[in-house]
Amino acid sequence: MAREVTERTGGTERLVLMGIHRRGDEIAALLHDEIEKAEGKPVALGSLDITLYRDDLGTVGPRPLIGESTLPPEGIDDRVVVIVDDVLYTGRTARAALNELMDWGRPSKVYLCVLIDRGGRELPIQPDIVGRKVEVIGNRKIEVLVPALDGRLAVEIVKNLPAEK
């Protein structure tokens, strides 16, 4: 995936990886380290917390906790931004991330990179770089485990969507 990112974006010079809080952040950090190792050059990294851009805030009762968005110090104007998330499902998070990104600046190009594409899109949004495409039915949930939060890197399909965690 790291190689595909640099191939698609044409090198590391103007590249900015923006992970979507929380697990997209972690995947972006892993990708970032891989790309830096392979290319031997520094790569800009940031994160997006899309909570305030969600389209269901008017209907959700208890308010979601808000994380902080961080930008690389150079900003994202005229840069090639790769939005990174763990799982692409309805496309609503990616829509929110795009809107937030546009409020931050004007990237010259934006790509969407996800570890898992599970189908089930509700918006016309498609990923550019995909780790793995997995077809799962609606009531199953895909959980991506990352070392920083879960102690290991793994992808699990949870049989039945748990009622509440």
């Binding site: 209907t59 808000i66 902080e68 968005s69 998330d85 409020d103």
Partner: protein, 323 residues
């Protein structure tokens, strides 16, 4: 599942009815909102399409502007109503004013009123969210919250902090909101000021009383210096501004006797040379402008938390959080 913040009801009337956890949740929510005001585009779409009325029956610059910035940075549509020139001077009652606003389909009211209890009175009569921006000498919850946030930012935590409120406690809604909030979060609270301006029975709230400002300075980690309303002098509560300054004013000379560095807060607007001297107000331990900055973030947090859907809708919305 996305972690969520506990709902604390339709309105924010005061800090007295809230639990420590609810207050902490508001302060924690304010943290990420600070960053939005540092952005180049200081706006997020979270309250898009919501209409908020800022209903000010008392003059206010700072609080009203702070609310207005908070509302606009969350993309709400706002209308400001000040009593001068409004139908209130034509004798309209508070409930009639509110019902008329309701009829125009508003979502939230931010109200400042000279009568204690006005905010609750209104909240019980209209379905919109009501935020108290100061009611008489009752409470000014968002000021209390921004003071808490500023103390937490600068001292690291509120639990165990010693905070002394100096000045006119009797007429001060800021003092009351501070006392409730600070005690709920585990701070030790004291008050200090002219005996004529101390409410009877204040110690029942769990605060210490200092009769001399020197003792307060020796004891405290932070001083919240209240504005002396100049009309208090005309009503005979204090003999003269000069005497007030000499006995209760916070000066560099007084602070030199402090065993540790003291954090200085003031809710504004300041009477320089009365309750606080200029070199203290502009000094390195003054966090008065931090309070103003935090005020916008805290108000954004309150608006965000109150503008959520009804709690009963929460069940059906669960599961919609997945990417």
């Amino acid at each position: 599942m996305t972690p969520t913040v506990a709902h604390f009801g339709k309105d924010l009337i005061g800090l007295e009815p809230l639990t420590g956890d609810q207050i902490r949740a508001i302060l924690d929510t304010a943290e990420p909102f600070k960053e939005i005001s540092e952005r180049r585009i200081k706006k997020v779409p979270v309250l898009r399409g919501k209409t908020i009325v800022n209903l000010f029956f008392e003059p206010s610059t700072r609080t009203r502007i702070s609310f207005e910035f908070a509302e606009k940075r969350l993309s709400a549509d706002t209308v400001n109503i000040q009593t001068a020139g409004s139908s209130v001077v034509k004798g309209e009652t508070l409930v009639d004013t509110a019902r008329n606003l309701e009829a125009m389909r508003i979502d939230m009211v931010v109200m400042r009123h000279s009568a204690s209890g006005a905010a609750r009175f209104l909240a019980e009569r209209i379905p919109s969210n009501v935020i108290n921006a100061g009611d008489g000498s009752h409470e000014h919850p968002t000021q209390g919250l921004l003071d808490l946030l500023t103390i937490r930012d600068n001292l690291g935590k509120i639990e165990g902090a010693k905070v002394c409120i100096v000045g006119d406690i009797l007429h001060s809604r800021v003092a009351r909101s501070n006392i409730y909030g600070l005690i709920k979060l585990g701070a030790e609270v004291a008050v200090c000021g002219p005996p004529t301006l101390q409410p009877v029975g204040i110690e029942e709230l769990g605060v210490h009383i200092f009769n001399r400002v020197e003792e307060a300075i020796e004891w405290a980690d932070a001083l919240n210096v209240l504005r002396l309303q100049l009309e208090r002098m005309q009503s005979g509560y204090v003999p003269s501004l000069r005497e007030y300054n000499r006995l209760w004013g916070i000066s560099t000379a007084r602070l030199e006797h402090a065993p540790k560095e003291l954090l200085i807060l003031h809710p504004g607007p300041m009477n320089r040379g009365v309750e606080i001297d200029s070199d203290v107000a502009d000094g390195e331990h003054s966090v008065i402008l931090d309070q103003v900055t935090n005020g916008v973030a805290v108000r954004m947090a309150v608006l965000y938390l109150l503008a959520g859907g009804a709690p009963e809708k929460a069940e059906s919305a669960k599961g919609g959080a997945e990417s």
